[in-house]
Symmetry: C2
Subunit: 333 residues, 2 copies
């Protein structure tokens, strides 16, 4: 295992500490219980938004804390859900009197712990509504999931919900926006190599030098099939077809096309993937109205990408375009 | 070789095409001769800024084309300088009547080809001034370089020069800012693994599973030494010491601290590196006034990082903070 780390058991604490040091204008880090909140504190009168989950997917979630997006993020151990305690603390710290939305990727541990935390926060007088993200079309049920997994589409849900909260929508309205974004979002990924969980020390799975895994999960969970490595355009076709069939997307739709790097795949390859995905959508009469390319929901140093397509309506487009000022997404303010 | 590419000889063309499709509001791509320019065209009355060099370092340079930074970027073949022709075309397209600054990383091929292009543009009536970036303290002279190499500090030089041009400085003033930024910037990198040039098909160099290369170049050129893999903090010490001694940086200095990923190293590790680098600077009484963390000057899928430290004065700080709107850096507008 070759990584730029110190003691494997300190990876998350040290990385989050470095994140806090690098972005003091945007975030503040609570070391114990561990969570990341906006430097400015909760916005009075506005809905707070908290997300979180296992670490190893950076910049998700802490990179999305800031104006126009999350109020706080709760990083668990690598690929392991945070316990309810820090989620409760982050929730209370995010309440500006209008309640708090939990955005939870659909993994059993996350769902359970966020549910417990929501109950505890409720008991403290903070109303919590939860929205589950389950955008991955690759498989139904998985290693850590009943139902579909939540993957890169989480970025879209967090962005539009954050914008809705920032403009002053109430908790039910923000939850409805998040639900609508999730309902209109589909993703699927591919792995060329596996990441290595630091305290495990060995790759999570082994792919032969000439094979790739279609439909990979962001924790290295099995996908749909292993196939021989083929040109990027063919791989894009394999990812896009199930995404487009599933919603289904149709000619005339306006969409956000999001190419997400898995951590070890550089931009030069991500844009090759983007090119063909945009071509395929154009052929089908689907208009790419917005785009995002970069490594936003990673799986440690895994090489691979995922594709996410979100069907946009006017309101979702407006919320996507709204100003955002976080470490990982920043525009328009 | 496992990459998300099609024919290795089309990597640059397809990636740049994808880049253009993804960011039509920011850039426009000229396919032949190949260069990337601002979607809005040259800014009348303002100095144009053109950079470029071999591909494989994305988002450098095309990712920095846009308001407040570059006017145009010229991507060569992977790790190979562009020829003078596209540089001339990009230069002419960037002239708004106030002349054009070339920002050139110090590699023999780039320096020669930009020089030729500057002469040709001059002959067309466009005044060109060139600034060479040579921030890498690792080695004196290298595989493709006489003198020091230009590496991640290029981002800083391009950002502040772009801001100076945007506020209306004349060509000599913009060149002076770029020169000052370079003079106050020092960098050094480390590789854990090698990238693979697509048309070569084999890694550029081979590091045993327990070794790393200190002082690596962004094309995999040899650094200072190969050592056994050690904890991240020790590696940071080895990179920072020669950087700080070189300028030298001193207690009381205000600096920009930039941790740059080499392409295959995820953010979770980059922030562990940032944490200790910030600690070391704090111990030395050097104030980290600004920060940047991310993969901005890469070497294909190389695993590793570089550290860059720039000594800031008030004007450089103001220019760093000025609004920028490019695919890879965006804030404040």
């Amino acid at each position: 295992m070759k990584k730029l780390i110190n003691d494997p058991k300190n990876v998350v604490d040290e990385s989050v500490a470095g994140f806090g040091l690098a972005h003091p204008d945007i975030v503040t880090v609570s070391a114990d219980p561990l969570f990341v909140a906006r430097a400015q504190g909760a916005s009075q009168g506005k809905v707070g938004i908290v997300s979180g989950g296992g670490s190893g997917h950076e910049p998700l979630h802490a990179g999305f804390v800031g104006f126009g997006m999350l109020s706080a993020a709760v990083p668990g151990p690598v690929f392991t859900s945070p316990t309810p305690d820090p989620i409760v603390a982050a929730t209370l710290a995010s309440d500006g009197g209008a309640g708090v939305l939990h955005i939870v990727k659909n993994y059993t541990g996350d769902v359970l712990n966020f549910e417990t935390a929501a109950d505890l926060a409720d008991a403290e007088g903070v109303r919590v509504v939860s929205v589950i993200v389950d955008d991955d079309v690759a498989v139904k049920d998985s290693l850590y999931t009943a139902g579909r997994r939540g993957v890169a589409g989480t970025v879209v849900v967090e962005k539009v919900a954050g914008a809705a909260a920032e403009r002053g929508d109430d908790l039910d309205a923000v939850a409805a926006i998040a639900t609508r974004a999730n309902a209109n979002t589909r993703s699927m990924g591919v792995a060329l190599t596996s990441g290595t969980v630091p305290h495990a020390g060995e790759p999570s799975f082994v792919l032969p030098e000439d094979e790739i895994e279609i439909g990979i999960g962001i924790h290295g969970e099995p996908g749909r099939e292993r196939i021989k490595l083929e040109p990027a355009d063919g791989i894009v076709d394999r990812l896009l077809a199930p995404i487009l069939e599933d919603l289904p997307f149709a000619s005339g739709d306006k969409v956000l096309l999001f190419v997400n790097g898995m951590g070890g795949t550089p931009l030069v390859e991500q844009y090759i993937v983007y090119r063909h995905a945009a071509e395929v959508l154009a052929e089908k009469g689907i208009e790419v109205a917005r785009s995002l390319v970069g490594s936003f929901v990673t799986s440690l140093e895994m090489q691979g990408v995922s594709l996410t397509v979100t069907r946009l309506d006017d309101e979702l487009t407006e919320l996507w375009d709204a100003p955002v000022e976080t470490a990982a997404l920043r525009w328009g303010r």
